[in-house]
């Protein structure tokens, strides 16, 4: 990336909890500095859903748990020059991946049919063409598309996000210090 040029940034939360996005906002006053460095495109921050142009950096929060996630992630790969997996869920599936050892049928029945509050007569598993289809497992993002950089953490600290973004903006290979790489 060239110096002194604003970098375009897109973010998305797939099978995540938005915790990584909250951590991004924890940058506090550095967010003001970041405004001078980046242009925000498709992101939950500005509620823009579709790409209007190709962007430089894409931040992916969350793993891939349904067909819509696959589609959105592929769209990000297509439209972003650099993709960064942000947080444990994007890197290894995270807590949603706790279901990976349980057959999908059992998972859905436990959630929609066998819960104590479900009327067993009416308990049905939701299905409609507008509802995304759940995948058999929660997949790490890099098993679906190529990911260029990884920032672990649950969530990664605002400092670490700032570090990786500014390093990329200034054309440096991201360097994380001890304490910036965290798995929890």
């Amino acid at each position: 990336m060239t110096k002194n040029k604003k970098v375009s940034l897109a973010t998305i939360s797939l099978a995540g909890c938005f915790g990584c996005h909250m951590s991004f906002l924890d940058m506090d006053m550095k967010v003001v500095d970041l405004v001078d460095l980046v242009d925000l495109h498709t992101s939950p921050f500005n509620d823009l859903k579709d790409f209007t142009q190709k962007v430089d950096v894409g931040l992916i929060e969350g793993g891939v748990c349904n067909d819509e996630n696959v589609e959105r992630l592929r769209s990000f790969r297509k439209n972003c020059k650099i993709l960064i997996s942000l947080g444990e869920c994007a890197i290894m599936g995270g807590l949603p991946a706790l279901r990976n050892n349980i057959p999908l049928k059992d998972c859905l029945e436990e959630a929609y049919v066998n819960t104590p509050t479900t009327d067993t007569q009416k308990g049905i598993i939701p299905h409609h063409e507008d509802i995304p289809k759940i995948l058999d497992k929660v997949y790490p993002c890099h098993e679906v598309v190529k990911i260029d950089y990884f920032l672990p953490g649950c969530p990664p600290s605002a400092d670490a996000i700032w570090q990786i973004l500014t390093d990329l903006i200034h054309g440096k290979e991201p360097q994380l210090n001890y304490g910036q790489i965290k798995y929890d």
Binding site: M92, L95, A97, H142, F150, L176, Y178, I181, Y183
Partner: protein, 245 residues
């Protein structure tokens, strides 16, 4: 007293006593070799995790299993070895189900600390998501098989007051797992349970009734890399069983 001999580590000449453990000799001379299943004064080492791999006579050898010999020439720090150790740690991460955000040992876990130290951001291998169980049967210990790295510390280095082993290996190959003898674990005293939990380098053996006890930032490896900490495991006082008095 044995006569000292000369060995070379990364080109540095070191005088050491024959039959001393290489990891300890290296540490005493300011050379750090990362370890996982090893701890100081452990007696016969386990050699299971291979994280301490060094190069000797063109072979990769676990340093904890090596004894000082006259004229040894070892390579500890090379790009190849660093990458190999990182790969070994990555393998351990993908082989089990290590969900660090929900683990009680997070911050005090040696495997996690090695990941930090080796700058592991993502394993190069596919996550296996093996189907493992969680054992709740014991009154004193919760056994989380998802996090077990089969290091043999509990099976080979822990004994109860009567000198009996309370953990065993079961199965072979990819079916290998640690089996806990619940009846014996339930007879352990508080001190022995604490020792056992401390002995487990990961969050596989947890003390029941104890959860997250320290905030983020105050845990063992939050600010200090594992290479700068010392792991000691003083054995609990072995009070004789009443039946033997």
């Amino acid at each position: 007293m044995k006569k000292k001999v000369n060995i070379t580590i990364d080109g540095k000449s070191i005088s050491a006593t024959p039959d001393d453990n290489i990891v300890e000799v290296a540490k005493a001379n300011g050379v750090y070799i990362p370890t996982l299943c090893f701890y100081p004064d452990m007696g016969k080492c386990l050699g299971t995790c291979r994280v301490c791999t060094v190069k000797w006579k063109r072979h990769h050898v676990a340093a904890c299993t090596l004894k000082v010999e006259e004229g040894m020439e070892l390579t500890v720090q090379s790009d190849e070895l660093k990458d190999l150790r990182k790969a070994l740690v990555e393998l351990l991460f993908v082989e089990g189900n290590h969900f660090c955000p929900g683990c009680e040992k997070s911050g005090d876990c040696k495997l996690q600390a090695l990941g930090y130290e080796l700058q592991m951001t993502v394993p190069r291998f596919h996550y296996r998501f093996n189907n493992r169980i969680i054992e709740y049967n014991s009154k004193k210990i919760l056994f989380e098989h998802n996090r077990c790295i089969l290091c043999k510390r509990c099976t080979h280095k822990f004994k109860d007051s009567k000198g009996r082993r309370v953990f065993f290996f079961k199965g072979k190959g990819c079916h290998l797992e640690v089996e806990m003898v619940t009846e014996l674990v339930d007879q352990l005293n508080e001190e022995q349970v604490d020792h056992l939990v401390e002995l487990c380098p990961v969050g596989a053996l947890l003390k029941k009734g104890k959860g997250f006890d320290r905030p983020y930032g105050e845990r063992k490896y939050d600010k200090t890399p594992v290479g700068q900490t010392t792991e000691t495991h003083p054995k609990p006082s072995t009070k004789k069983h009443k039946g033997l008095l």
